[in-house]
Symmetry: C2
Subunit: 125 residues, 2 copies
Amino acid sequence: MFELDIRSRKPIYEQLVEKLKELIINDVLKGDEKLPSVRELAQQMTINPNTIQKAYRELESQGYIYSQKGKGSFVHPVEKSENKEELNKVREELKKLFAEAIYLGITTEEIQAMLREVEGGEPHD
Amino acid sequence: MFELDIRSRKPIYEQLVEKLKELIINDVLKGDEKLPSVRELAQQMTINPNTIQKAYRELESQGYIYSQKGKGSFVHPVEKSENKEELNKVREELKKLFAEAIYLGITTEEIQAMLREVEGGEPHD
DNA sequence: TAACTGTACTATTATTATTAATACAGTTGT
DNA sequence: ACAACTGTATTAATAATAATAGTACAGTTA
């Protein structure tokens, strides 16, 4: 499914959250698609089930997946602008990053080009 | 100078790095301006000097400040696109954030508006 | 019923962050 | 030369967090 950097200083569960978020955002994992079960993924990656569970719990609280006892965990289909907290967090991060990028000398033209590039590749329906 | 969230799960030295970077990027701390000494800042914030040093070391490795034995630590004046590693890291983060923002339903128009906003407020010379 | 699911809990270990106490070398002003 | 600053380095002890291990319970499915 993906790989983690075991010797990174970033906690495993955080890396898991990031990677899964990426897959969901890039529509590799489609809406309502079932994720590997906690135990299954744990075995695949040879890490502890509790660590997977922690990542799933985090993803759920951020609104990216939902879980049902006995059934499994699934990708939360996007209903636009649903998670307001997450939305504002992203807005804040964008502003910070823009300031940093400009500070480092990245031109607004380049930034806009990157935006168009990402925009073009994201018809997630 | 600023405040840290002592009960955040994010390490103190990381918070320090972020805050200082922000001040530098937003030109609150000007080029070649002297930062508080390791011991001084440690006393002000009632945290250990080693923690400050760790943050300063990180900022130096990222190219945001420079330090001189016996003299102090200073804001590194920007010579555009100097730190290529940092540049590419920011580019990568931008792409990820764009994808996430679009996924969450933020329009490209809004993103462009935010960019213009930040752009306008950053004549750091 | 058997074999799956998520979830919760406690205990233990491993890893990392933070503090603490020194020490040394360079700078600055007196 | 001296005192009082600077950054830097090192070692040790403690605190905080991440990760593992083992177990249990409730819901689902065939």
